[in-house]
Amino acid sequence: MIQRRTFLRGSGYGVGAIAFKSLLEREAAAAKVERWRGVIDKPHVPVKARRVIHLCMAGGPSQFDCFDWKPKLKELHGKPFPESLTKGQQLAQLQGQTLIARGPFMPFKKWGKSGQEISEAFPHIGSIADRICIIRSMHTEQINHDPAHAFMNAGSIIKGRPSMGSWLLYGLGAETENLPGFVVMVSIGRSSDQPISSRQWSAGFLPSKFQGIQFQSKGDAVHYVGRPDGVTAPLQRQIVEEVQKLDALSFTQRKDPEIQTRISQYEMAFRMQSSVPELTDFAKEPQHVLDMYGIKEPGDGSFASNCLLARRLAERGVRFIQLYHRAWDNHSNLEADFPKAAKQTDQACAALVKDLEQRGMLDDTLVIWGGEFGRTPMGQGTGRDHPIISFSIWLAGAGIKGGLTWGRTDELGYKYITDGQEVSVHDLHATMLHLCGIDHHRLSVRFQGLDQKLTGVEECKVVKGILV
């Protein structure tokens, strides 16, 4: 266990031993919560974002029906898709099929002063068009959901790599002593959609304290946060204190500093038992706020309710918040299901941005909206398949230029255009870290012989053009 601590502190030569000594000198019984403050002492670059909210549109929303207006594709609707574009390229469920163009079915509109083009399925997001930056030139390396999620979250398809939230928490720590620093929520009310895996918020080879904690939509928000039946808060407090007291006695004999850490973790655990219910209690949220998000039943596990919870988490110092909405895998029935998914998310996404802004938090909160990939301009029956080399996302908040559309795809939207504005998943990671004050080259951990980074081994870039 000692190696563990030195590992964590040991970002530099010999630091381990020094940090170790100062820890030992602490009073053993002090029931203090020792918050992880991150391995990055001084930011590498100026900090713009103090927290990140990732609205993960799992399944891959169709960019042609939200943010990437393609009139040419509309003209080609129902006609064969030019083979020149697709030849030799990887396809998913369209393998071996005749490729037919599917035009956008939602009308697009120019919104705000910036005139960003957004489809009418997203009127609320349209209303914040001047605050968001749309990137149309995203591309990924993985064409199937499982590895694409892994790549989007951990920058690698090899399992056991830390997710981006874990990296941030490891690097920067959290600003809360009462809540986990990395929280994940999955909206309920959708079924028969693409599965997701807890590896998407796994700490991988980092210590498990950096993993995302999934707040459950049913039962206790956090696993085992509820006291056993018949145990009141004061009784539980006594038990926790007794454990701390007896452990402190053990420390005098065993002298293992892990005991002190443990005493502090029991304190944090106890605090979570009151802070989590307080967090999830929406009673103090005024009606107009609930209305702004479009929340029908507070705490119902809907995307809207989770968005409000995300704001509450952000207020309380949580570093990385990830919301999943598993509704976008429209292989079929696109024209019915896509607007439904848009309706479930549009208002709350916009409300979150506005709410953060009203509270003065948008300046230092980065909001990322997007799927693990997008969809093909070729139809697949009544839907679209998933592509690999073009999709759209948007960013808002901390250090992001609002009202900007970045990057282009070809006139049928099949592939990004190489004009210096193309953005890879690793570029997105590098940019996110940059906004958080981190040079992505310098947040690394040695694992299996390599200095592993969120952004992998290949060169990637911070997308400076979208930054203020």
């Binding site: 498990s208 007896l246 292989h331 998933h386």
Partner: protein, 987 residues
């Protein structure tokens, strides 16, 4: 963990007099960390054509001038202030510490001697060194460790006390703590070989194999589900049993290796050897629609190479998937040549058949289907369970027979039923009465109305036949599989069935498992399409049919054909059972069958009948103890190409044949035939291979000390850490091979050493010198691995189920935890019997969502080969121990076990609880403190009896009659004990 090494090296440098610089220990880590990325083995990224990993090359370029640091460009470059020239370049954000610069300078001054990397040179058994204190430890292990301590003037620690020692040994070798009785016996044992006696006892325990299996299951990436996307269930429990049994029987590790990688290629492989080949099938696989087989085959191959690299070679071969290794001499070609060994494994890239990616081999596969190829084997656990259930039926029948005999009324009823039965059998000797269809004005398709005749109705049989002149859908049976489902109403009331079966059915899968019976209908196998298909339906509760009552049988399906319906007053089980009754004479005799039949066929003893049905269903599912298991089957190998930059779509790379890494001694292959997995396995355990024995010894050392002699268990390469005691590692590795790969001998050697038996208390004077305890001047305190955290709490409560092997179990788990899984949807039904308390290593391992208790305590998802579990220390662990119903129930039962002991005062009870839960007596201040807590909780629960009742109601374990307030208060005490550091730590 690199920080630890550096701290270690620095502190050793500070603590000890300067010794001769050693390349492997002192120099290679610096060069690897700072230089090899651009000046190492990977030619594609090499800068300025300079490489520093090979002496000749470094000398040729003048980077190093032996004996003349002042003339060496390397030294000039690391010392310059010019940002354009300085090395490492500023962009790398790496800087050399003054000590490192001094070390490099000294090394060059001394002549810049290189050493081949320690892990790749032949294993050498050095002479055990002389030590100052010969009496301290007598084993070679002691000699090597003590010699290193002597060099630094450090004394080893005193031995731990006997209780601590026995608990340490029991936990390390079996994962179970000692019982208070075992502790007493050992502390009283004055024989000189008392310790060795305990070692031998525990090595012989059947739980030894379970403890040793856990780290092996981590590296084998053993899990119950396939991992990718829908994360469906797979069958592989027999492999886990194989691993446990192999450790228990002390199977030589070379044989263990060969069986797993290539058991199927051995001459006349045994079933056991085939089960072992499940290893090659434990990579994650997918069934995702839209996945491309070729892409996934590349992923599966890469996974296997990484796994073999980690498990046997302690090497990070994965780095070479896209390019030559940057730090170690593995090339990309080595990576694919290793992958080519597995090109013959029968598998599919995508385990399904989609219209956009047809896979005729797996036609008709759904998300509920298993993952072939599998074989069916016997599981001793399942067989024993099956026998136990049979015995339970016997006991139940005996009890009922006694009850029948004791009650005059019931006997009379029974007699009259017997008489009726005899009459029925005289008329219908096979037990089935034909029930012709009633004439109907309007006959709906598939609907038959019958008059079953009065009396008990317990079973219905339906015969489906295809008349020769039939032209309906049935005629298509030759190429279409008919699906038939049945529903029955009695006077318009739906009849419920508890079981149905047919001898002519296609297997039906749910969640990957073949379902017993045909309750919801059945699929007629193509081959039997023309024959009469019979199904038998057993009523959940027998129905008394009155005169004139009718039954309506509705059949839905594409292939119904003509229908004949039979009824029976005898409830039997499955299709076999009616024939048991065929002989009317036998039936008249007294016997078990008779009682069973009476029990199930009438309204008599309803509760027992339900239990009978339940057990019967379980027996049907157990199939006499048979279970399918994933195996490796060999097919013609597909062509393996080197994939440029790991890109599976790029076919431009050269074809590679199976081969072992070029820089290591090659397998003997005079006739140049294509090498096989068997060659690979034999090569891994050949005497010439320096990596396997070192890797294994290092992992076992970690098991017994908390850290490997080389702490990076999965990287013995340049970027790993040199071993703290290289001669010891080599001595043990050599001895292991000489002994015929005898693992128990290795474990015994280590645990009988004085090094192992030292006290684990951290020593203040060593904190600065040796914070990571690499000198081994004490034992280490280790948090138990996740599975054993669970086992220990259940053991304290005497709830732990000590059965070995068998399928994975489903302990309590928070509701909805699997709700984000799809294809198919998943739910979790917590076990309701003794299986609730199975050991942690049998927990259902859902790769995408590992049980939160296990995950919180750092159990890996086993999606990837995992050699180490770095323990963390988190609030989630505290929450788990405080609130997970498993632990609350354990405390509740622990408390009741204390309370049923009569005439003990509170302090004595607390003492007993410590003995049982922590393996040691309570100290006076601990007792005093807990007595106060007990008092406070008594006060609360005395006044709030409802709270007490709620607390003690946790869990399914039985509860004796106890005062609820007292029970709840003691539950609090036990919760504290189970939450303590000492409870979850092996000291």
């Amino acid at each position: 963990m690199h920080g630890a090494t550096l701290a270690f090296l620095v502190s050793l440098a500070a603590a000890a007099a300067p010794k001769k610089v050693q390349f492997n220990r002192d120099i290679r880590p610096i060069l690897s960390e700072n230089c090899f990325f651009c000046h190492g083995p990977d030619k594609s990224k090499r800068k300025a054509g300079l490489r520093l990993d090979v002496r000749e090359a470094a000398l040729e370029d003048g980077a190093i001038v032996p004996g003349k640091p002042g003339d060496s460009e390397l030294i000039a470059r690391i010392n310059t202030k010019d940002p354009d020239d300085v090395m490492p370049p500023p962009l790398s954000h790496k800087t050399l510490k003054p000590q490192q610069v001094a070390m490099l300078t000294r090394w060059i001054a001394d002549g810049a001697a290189y050493q081949p990397h320690w892990a790749y040179v032949p294993v050498r058994k050095a002479k055990t060194p002389a030590t100052r204190d010969q009496a301290w430890g007598k084993t070679p292990v002691d000699a090597f460790v003590q010699a290193a301590l002597d060099e630094r003037d450090v004394r080893p620690s005193a031995p731990a006390d006997r209780r601590t020692l026995l608990r340490r040994l029991s936990l390390d070798l079996t994962g179970l703590p000692p019982t208070p009785e075992e502790l007493t016996a050992f502390t009283a044992d004055t024989r000189p070989d008392a310790w060795e006696g305990q070692v031998d006892r525990l090595l012989a325990s059947p739980h030894y194999g379970e403890r040793m299996a856990v780290p092996w299951l981590d590296v084998a990436r053993f899990a119950d589900t396939v991992g990718y996307h829908g994360d469906q269930n797979q069958h592989v429990l027999a492999y886990r049993e194989y691993v446990i049994n192999s450790f228990n029987r002390n199977k030589p590790f070379d044989q263990f290796t060969i069986e797993q990688l290539a058991g199927d290629l051995l001459p006349k492989p045994t079933t056991e050897q085939l089960i072992a080949t499940g290893f090659n099938r434990l990579n994650m696989v997918t069934r995702e629609g839209g996945a491309q087989a070729k892409e996934y085959l590349a992923k599966y191959m890469a996974d296997r190479v990484r796994a073999v690299g980690t498990v046997w070679m302690g090497s990070t071969l994965g780095c070479s998937e896209c390019h030559d290794h940057k730090f170690d001499p593995f090339t990309a070609r080595d990576f694919y040549a290793m992958g080519a060994f597995f090109a013959d494994v029968k598998q599919w890239g995508v385990y399904s058949d989609y219209k956009y990616t047809p896979n005729p081999d797996l036609k008709g596969f759904t998300n509920d289907y298993p993952f072939p190829p599998e074989i069916t084997v016997e599981s001793p656990y399942l067989k024993a369970r099956s026998q136990r259930l049979q015995a339970e039926l016997g006991t139940l029948a005996d009890q009922l027979r006694a009850r029948l005999a004791a009650s005059r009324d019931e006997t009379r009823e029974f007699r009259s039923w017997q008489d009726g039965t005899r009459r029925f059998l005289a008329q219908y000797p096979d037990g089935w009465r034909p029930a012709p269809a009633l004439p109907e004005k309007k006959q709906a398709t598939g609907m038959v109305r019958i008059a079953p005749g009065s009396g008990w109705l317990s079973a219905i049989r339906i015969d489906l036949a295809t008349p020769p002149d039939y032209k309906g859908p049935d005629a298509e049976l030759g190429r279409k599989i008919g699906v038939v489902s049945v529903s029955v109403t009695h006077n318009d009331q739906a009849i419920r069935f508890h079981f149905a079966d047919s001898a002519t059915k296609e297997p039906h899968y749910l969640g990957g498992h073949e379902q017993a019976g045909i309750a919801s209908g059945w699929v007629v196998p193509r081959a039997k399409a023309g024959q009469t298909r019979t199904g038998v339906w057993e009523l959940a509760q027998p129905v008394r049919v009155g005169i004139g009552d009718t039954l309506t049988v509705t059949l839905k399906g594409e292939a119904v054909g003509t229908v004949k319906v039979f009824t029976s007053p005898f409830a039997t089980f499955g299709t076999q059972a009616p024939s048991r009754l065929a002989a009317g004479k036998r039936f008249a005799a007294k016997g078990r069958v008779l009682d069973e039949v009476y029990l199930l066929s009438t309204g008599w003893a309803k509760d027992e009948a339900r239990r009978f049905q339940d057990v019967h269903r379980q027996l049907a599912e157990l199939r006499g103890g048979l279970t399918p298991t994933l195996v490796t089957q060999t097919v013609t190998p597909y062509t393996t190409r080197l994939l440029p930059r790991g890109n599976w779509q790029d076919d431009s790379g050269p074809v590679v044949d199976p081969a072992t890494p070029q820089f290591l001694p090659a397998p003997v292959n005079p006739d140049k035939r294509r090498l096989t997995r068997l060659d690979l396995a034999r090569w891994l355990v050949s005497r010439d291979n320096p990596l396997t024995s070192r890797t294994l010894v290092n992992r076992i050392w970690k098991h017994l000390f908390g850290a490997g002699l080389s702490p990076q268990l999965d990287d013995l390469g340049a970027q790993g850490e040199p071993p703290s005691h290289p001669d010891l590692l080599d001595w043990l590795a050599a001895d292991l091979v000489e002994s015929g790969w005898d693992i128990k001998r290795l474990v015994r050697l280590i645990v009988t050493s004085s090094v192992y038996r030292q006290d684990s208390t951290a020593r203040p004077e060593l904190r600065e010198v040796d914070p990571a305890n690499r000198l081994l001047a004490r034992q280490s305190q280790r948090r138990l691995d996740a599975e054993f955290v669970r086992d220990n709490a259940l053991f304290a409560a005497n709830l732990l189920n000590l059965e070995i092997g068998g399928p994975s179990a489903f302990p309590y788990q928070p509701a909805g935890y699997l709700e984000n899984l799809e294809f198919p949807k998943r739910d979790w039904y917590a076990e309701k019997d003794e299986r609730q308390y199975r050991r942690g290593l049998y927990t259902h391992w859902q790769r995408t969502f590992v049980h939160p208790m296990l995950a919180n305590f750092d159990a890996p998802s086993r999606e990837e080969c995992t050699a180490d579990r770095p323990p963390s220390n988190t609030p989630q662990q505290a929450l788990t121990l405080l609130n997970d119903p498993t632990f609350v129930e354990a405390a509740r039962v622990f408390a009741q076990n204390l309370l049923v002991l009569k005439d003990l005062d509170d302090a004595t009870r607390i003492g007993r609880a410590f003995e049982r839960g922590l393996g040691r007596p309570a100290k006076p201040d601990e007792t005093a403190s807990l007595l106060k807590l007990l008092g406070a909780h008594r006060e609360h629960y005395g006044q709030h009896i409802e709270d007490a009742r709620k607390l003690v109601a946790v869990g399914i374990a039985p509860r004796p009659e106890l005062d609820a307030a007292e029970h709840a208060s003691w539950t609090s005490v036990c919760r504290v004990i189970l939450n303590l550091y000492d409870a979850v730590t092996r000291l």
